[in-house]
């Protein structure tokens, strides 16, 4: 992992723990932000970077596992839990809710570093996915209302003449729309357009089945 292109948040109420983790992350050349409570983390302005959240289970303002539940659907980095006394039910709960790892203090450096690396990797992939989807949505938004009518019909598998008949337009006109859509969605092949339509969750409303062979 290259330096500086991700950030590690440490949330622990023990000042010694915050200091030692900051030292360790610093010596690895990683960027760390250490905070004393869940509230401090929430109000911290997070930069637009891949990240990892190292969360102590026993926080002063809230139980770490409850906090995980609270931020589950928000835009938060993957969590690595730390605990002074790990029990099986807590760790199962944490992992079920998507935590990357659940480490018991004192943990080994290897476990911690490994957990952070996979958390950051996971966040990077998720962010890329979100970014791509955002681009696709923007492209889709650039389509005209008519083109947005044509898209579901053609990706449903209708022949051009069937789709044209569906909209009451000429086949030549439909072909022009289809060409424009391919251009605006920046796809090289029709197969790509179908794949993208699926990502954008464009409903498949028609079937070629009733059409001619």
């Amino acid at each position: 992992m290259s330096t500086g292109d991700f950030i590690v948040f440490v949330v622990d109420d023990d000042a010694r723990m915050r200091e030692s983790l900051s030292d360790l992350l610093d010596s690895l050349g990683w960027r760390a932000v250490a905070l004393g409570s869940a509230g401090e983390y929430i109000s911290y302005p997070r930069p637009d970077l891949p990240a990892c959240l190292i969360l102590d289970v026993e926080l002063p303002d809230i139980n770490g596992l409850d906090f995980q539940k609270q931020i589950l659907h928000g835009d938060h980095p993957p969590i690595v839990f730390l605990t002074g006394h790990g029990d099986i039910s807590s760790s199962v709960r944490a992992i079920k809710d998507g935590a990357v790892d659940f480490l018991t203090k004192p943990f080994t450096e290897r476990d911690l570093v490994g957990a952070i690396q996979s958390a950051v990797q996971q966040d990077r992939a998720a962010r890329q996915e979100r970014g791509e989807l955002e681009t696709l949505r923007e492209r889709f938004a650039s389509l005209t209302p008519r083109e947005r009518e044509v898209l579901p019909l053609v990706v449903s598998g209708l022949l051009n003449k069937q789709a044209a008949a569906e909209l009451g337009i000429r086949e030549v006109t439909l072909q022009i729309h289809r060409g424009k859509i391919m251009q605006k969605m920046e796809v090289a092949s029709f197969a790509d357009l179908v794949r993208i339509a699926e990502k954008l969750q464009i409903p498949i409303t028609h079937s070629r089945r009733s059409g001619s062979t």
């Binding site: 023990d14 010694r16 723990m17 200091e19 030692s20 983790l21 030292d23 360790l24 610093d26 010596s27 690895l28 730390l82 002074g84 006394h85 018991t104 203090k105 004192p106 943990f107 080994t108 450096e109 911690l112």
Partner: protein, 165 residues
Amino acid sequence: MIDIGEQNQAETALRERKLPLREVQEKLVSIAETASLSDLSASIAHEMNQPLAAIVATSHACQRWLSADPPNLERAKITLERIIRDANSASEAISLIRANFSQMDKAKSTVDIGRVITEVCRLMANELGMKNARTETDFDQSQLQQVLIELTRNAVKALEARDQV
């Protein structure tokens, strides 16, 4: 955790008079002590995990500063100082626990009941003051016995109430 089996065995032995009473009593006491010891060791472990985790993490940081090219001696020194500080505070915590232990082991000695009572009155003065209660410490042996009897009765009642829940 109390070894119920062992305790039952001791009680059975007591009933059957196979063991001298004194020996059985000593055994029961030692079982009770082990119970609090296991609780104690769990809490010591919890107390120690935090500084140990910090020490381990900081040591790794120190190692990295030293093996950097060129070595970052300034940072290595700072981390080393933190390791010493955390290790010292952990050993202080251990000494504190040990001191509490040795207090438990202190030999039995005679106490002046009058002084004990005066000390209790002093400790309770605040609480009693809030209730506008007055304390009197002029009593004879039978009155003191009465107090102890009342205390014991309260304890029995508390036990009965707990069993009913």
